[in-house]
């Protein structure tokens, strides 16, 4: 449990992780296909919400972040052994697909479900 581990991580204090608002989390973000330069062939939808993950990874990675064992060890290595080994990064954990209707160069129309197009949650790894 994070609470118990933090007691033996040398020099650990909650202030080290910075303000909670700056911690690794999912940020909603919307972009239009016009902005991406794809509106000349995508019929629907008009907007796309890929979202993104941003923020600092805490020094002790709790369960809610779904970090793999490797990330937890790498964090400890950074903390206790070698600071040239970077801390884990805040990246997407789960994705959901998006359905797109587009017109092809030859005038055919395509409906397609593209996997892993929208970030749904984040992790530190």
């Amino acid at each position: 449990q994070a609470g118990r581990i933090t007691s033996w991580v040398p020099g650990f204090s909650k202030e080290h992780d910075g303000p909670k608002s700056n911690q690794c989390s999912l940020h909603p973000f919307q972009v239009s296909f016009h902005q991406l330069g794809w509106d000349h062939w995508i019929i629907a939808p008009h907007v796309y919400t890929p979202n993104y993950c941003k923020g600092a990874c805490p020094r002790v990675l709790h369960y809610g972040l779904n970090s793999p064992n490797h990330a937890i060890i790498q964090n400890l290595v950074n903390e206790l052994v070698d600071q040239s080994v970077p801390q884990p990064s805040c990246v997407p954990y789960k994705y959901v697909p998006i359905s797109i209707l587009l017109v092809e160069a030859n005038g055919n129309i395509l409906y397609k479900e593209y996997e892993d197009m929208i970030a749904q949650s984040c992790t530190c790894r």
Binding site: G37, W38, H40, W41, I43, A44, P45, V47, Y48, T49, V96, P97, I98, S99, I100, L101, L102, V103, E104, A105, N106, G107, N108, I109, L110, Y111, K112, E113, Y114, E115, I118
Partner: protein, 243 residues
């Protein structure tokens, strides 16, 4: 931007399927959006609205049964003048060269079974264009029992079996050829009819419901069996070394 050299280089990497698709399917920026109007566009918009919400999220209860639906328009038509009460049009639907890499779920031809042109009232149906001595694999009945996105004048016909047997293999023809046959409705005076005012798009289009198998192919490459085979080869090397 699509078409720039940097993206072309990225497409060489087999792990970038989205980039590959953008290069294959997207019209160039300088190219105008192909004009797609009328019934085909309406049909696909309704299919989209049934299958996804306004933000593009696929609906949980969607009944589409495939991850991809391609509407193919006929490439060219050869119209033959009226023979008795019949007039016939040949429709060619081109298939993409790599199409068979996808798993075919369903193939549907959508066509107008009623045509009203000037003084003509025609009843129409489609048939496969098959060389003599070959059997007809089309269903004898007309239309589909599935809930339809169509207005009254249009009909769907399931031709999955025909497409699967004749076209969906690496050696298959790359073109699906159909005959669009119309007959003047009974009681109307037989007049000399020409296919004026009916573009091929106004009469029929093909729908291919397919599943993308790229992911499963990639998974198969990473399957433990591959590793076992590798290990097997490796262990035989070790054995030889021991010997």
């Amino acid at each position: 931007e699509v078409g720039q050299p940097s993206i072309a280089l990225m497409a060489d990497a087999p792990s970038l399927p989205l980039i590959q698709e953008l290069l294959e399917e997207a019209p160039g920026k300088q190219q105008r959006k192909p004009q797609v109007l009328g019934h085909p566009l309406q049909y696909m918009l309704e299919l989209y609205q049934r299958s996804a919400d306004a933000r593009g999220h696929p609906r949980e209860n969607r009944t589409i049964g495939a991850t991809m639906v391609r509407l193919v328009r006929p490439l060219s038509t050869v119209a033959r003048p009226l023979r008795g009460p019949w007039c016939i049009k040949t429709l060619d639907f081109p298939l993409r060269p790599n199409q068979v890499a996808y798993q075919l779920v369903r193939a549907i031809v959508v066509y107008r079974h009623q045509l009203h042109l000037a003084h003509f009232h025609l009843s129409c149906h489609v048939e496969p264009w098959i060389q003599k001595s070959q059997t007809n694999h089309f269903p004898s009945g007309r239309g589909s029992s599935k809930p339809s996105l169509l207005s009254k004048a249009w009909t769907e016909m399931d031709i999955t079996q025909h497409v699967r047997q004749r076209l969906w293999n690496p050696k298959g023809h790359r073109v699906l050829r159909l005959r669009f046959m119309c007959q003047q409705q009974k009681g109307s005076e037989i007049l000399e009819f020409q296919w004026h005012g009916t573009s091929s798009l106004d009469t029929a289009f093909l729908l291919l419901y397919v599943n993308d198998t790229h992911k499963s192919v990639q998974k198969a490459k990473l399957h433990p069996r591959g590793l076992e085979e590798f290990m097997g080869r490796d262990s035989s090397l070790l054995l030889r070394r021991t010997r």
